[in-house]
């Protein structure tokens, strides 16, 4: 079977982002907690020297010169003179995507923030998947009353203005990754439940399922052998698109200050911080925005690709 090109593109994009966020921080020059005095708001591609001091501080500066037994550390806000004995090691590095107001490496923060964004979206979509599958299957196979109750609940939840609900929950409770996962997961399973219910109902009228039922197949085997395998393609496609939506929702909430707390790096939060000092450093908000877009586009391409491959095999 030919793999659709969109799936290849989306899959590679997602793989690059996931691997980059997981292992990237090991490869990026370690700049510790940054250096607000000497490395504030340096543009992308600046090469810097990193001095690890005996008292545990880390100095980062684009211009380090030696004069006698002292280091002269320059920077936009301050010039320091450091005795040679106070410096444990001197390393060279490059700020590929520049630094923020606090002299922190934007790339390093982007990669760490990506871990959180990816984890929140992946866990959120897992919850949505499990609840959606459960409710959809229960509605389709649990009899008329269960179907009516569950589907009216789905209708009511879908009538909830979704972003308003998210904002409400995050504004009311202490925001944090755990709450975010729960809120995102529990507010996005309704579409999947409808999809699963519809698919199972249409599968039930298919000949092979009728044959299995007539042959006396019991429900555990019915599900594992007939329902779940045939649900795989549409559910996988919807899950990919849903995960893209969750990435955008998480970023939006973090942008509004209601998602990931500001003490942790997050892509949405970085855009918000960057927009406040947009005139001093365009790179602060541009790159996190592009990272969000890259992730959402990869997931959309995977969704498109899965759809066209399931159409081709149908």
């Amino acid at each position: 079977m030919r793999v659709p090109r969109r799936l290849v593109w989306g899959g590679s994009g997602l793989a690059v982002l996931v691997i980059g966020c997981l292992f990237g921080p090991l490869w990026v020059t370690d700049t510790g907690d940054g250096d607000p005095l000497h490395a504030s708001l340096l543009p992308p591609l600046t090469s810097v020297s990193i001095l690890d001091l005996a008292d545990g501080r880390t100095l980062i500066s684009p211009e380090v010169t030696t004069s006698g037994d002292r280091f002269r550390v320059g920077g936009p806000h301050k010039i320091s003179s450091i005795a040679r004995d106070a410096v444990i090691s001197r390393r060279e590095g490059r700020l590929w995507l520049g630094s923020d107001r606090f002299g922190r490496d934007v790339l390093a923060r982007l990669l760490v923030g990506g871990r959180i964004s990816l984890a929140v979206a992946a866990l959120g979509v897992t919850i949505a998947l499990l609840v959606g599958l459960g409710v959809g299957l229960a509605a389709a196979t649990g009899g008329r009353v269960a179907d009516a109750v569950l589907m009216r609940t789905v209708d009511a939840l879908l009538a909830f203005p979704i972003l308003l609900l998210l904002i409400l929950l995050s504004a009311l409770f202490q925001p944090g990754p755990v709450l975010l996962v729960a809120v995102l997961g529990l507010s996005s399973w309704m579409g999947l439940a409808r999809l699963v219910r519809g698919q199972v109902l249409s599968l039930r009228s298919r000949t092979f399922v009728e044959a299995a039922r007539v042959a006396g197949t019991r429900w555990p085997r019915m599900w594992t052998l007939h329902y779940l395998p045939n649900l795989k393609a549409p559910v996988a496609q919807d899950t990919a698109l849903q995960m893209g939506n969750l990435v955008l929702a998480e970023a939006t909430l973090s942008f509004l200050g209601l998602g990931i707390p500001a003490t942790l790096p997050s892509w949405g939060g970085m855009v918000s911080e960057g927009q406040r000092v947009m005139l001093d450093g365009w790179w602060l908000s541009v790159f996190p925005g592009l990272a969000i877009a890259a992730l959402v586009i990869s997931l959309a391409l995977i969704g498109d690709g899965l759809q066209s491959s399931s159409e081709a095999s149908a």
Binding site: D155, A159, F160, L172, I292
Partner: protein, 322 residues
């Protein structure tokens, strides 16, 4: 048909009641109240208690719910804690700005989306098609708050063409009719463009796929064989069936038209429903939160009904079902 409409309208009331009740439960379950959001360290504990009593927050949750519900049934949505005005007044004031902004966004979405999709399918897989595909995919993935920042950066800060925020200039009250309208349009440009671009990307992606499907169908081959010119083939024969699903989008756009976009309104300081809802949620202004959710939920239900009705109008096949 008529029975379907009546049934759906009858379902509206319990659904909206359910949504309001759920909202009330969520707000009650959260720690703290409006009295705690007042950011003034000099407020004594007694004063905070007095504020709670003044807004009726010292009553039990059940009492608060019943008195709200009783008043709501007579059409009284209560008084906003934050704005110190009737909720209906706050919402009515915020509605026109949202209608203007979301309406212009919707028009841009449809016009741009349609134009891009038509330009793309004229020659499938040619350079224009690829460019539009990449462009619409890119816009689809870009978060709207980021796009808003970029638009402000480029068109407002660097080029100075449009104001970066608010709906009117400070001296708008002194302007005459026409100049006032021009001032409004001037302020409307960037936020409407932000909404329109994001929406147009999704519409173009969707419409391009449907147009390509329609092109491959047999009636198109038959039309081509009859010697119908290319542009007529595309604009009349292919576009009509491809537009059917887009018509349903019109109905589904109703919630956004009424509730507004929280993100865009917040960034551009647009005094609409989205901003009001955002402020209400942050201040735990229970009556206003409930009022905004009520309107939002009603809009979702009416929107999906409207979209089904529109579909039945344009596609006779849908009329016989249900």
């Amino acid at each position: 048909m008529k029975r379907m409409v009546l049934r759906r309208l009858a379902a509206l009331v319990p659904l909206v009641w359910l949504v309001a009740t759920l909202t009330f439960v969520v707000v009650q379950a959260a720690p703290g109240s409006y009295a705690d959001t007042i950011d003034n360290p000099r407020l004594s504990a007694e004063t905070r208690e007095a504020i709670r009593a003044r807004y009726g927050l010292d009553r039990s949750a059940g009492q608060q719910y019943l008195s709200w519900l009783g008043a709501a049934l007579t059409g009284d949505l209560g008084t906003s804690f934050l704005y110190k005005e009737p909720v209906s007044k706050v919402l009515f004031r915020a509605l026109p700005p949202t209608l203007v902004l979301a309406g212009s966004g919707l028009v841009l979405t449809l016009v741009l989306g349609l134009a891009l999709a038509l330009a793309a399918v004229r020659h499938p897989n040619a350079w224009a098609d690829r460019l539009i595909t990449v462009l619409s995919l890119g816009l689809y993935g870009v978060p709207s708050f980021w796009l808003a920042g970029m638009l402000i950066m480029v068109f407002s800060v660097s080029l100075g063409w449009f104001p970066p925020s608010h709906m009117r200039s400070v001296d708008a009250a002194d302007l005459s009719g026409f100049a006032r309208a021009a001032d409004l349009v001037h302020h409307l440009m960037l936020p409407a463009l932000c909404l329109g671009l994001v929406g147009a990307a999704a519409t173009a992606r969707y419409l391009r796929a449907t147009l390509l499907d329609v092109r491959a169908s047999r009636f198109m081959l038959a039309a081509r064989a009859r010697g119908i010119p290319r542009h007529r083939l595309l604009l009349v024969h292919a576009l009509r069936p491809a537009l059917l699903p887009v018509v349903t989008l019109l109905g589904l756009a109703l919630p956004v038209l009424v509730s507004g976009s929280v993100v865009v309104e917040t960034i551009f300081s647009w005094p609409g429903m989205g901003q009001v809802a955002f402020n209400a949620a942050r201040a735990r202004d229970i009556p206003l939160i409930l009022g905004a959710t009520l309107i939002g939920a009603a809009a979702v239900v009416l929107g999906s009904l409207l979209s089904d009705l529109l579909y039945a109008v344009v596609d006779p096949r849908a009329r016989t079902e249900r």
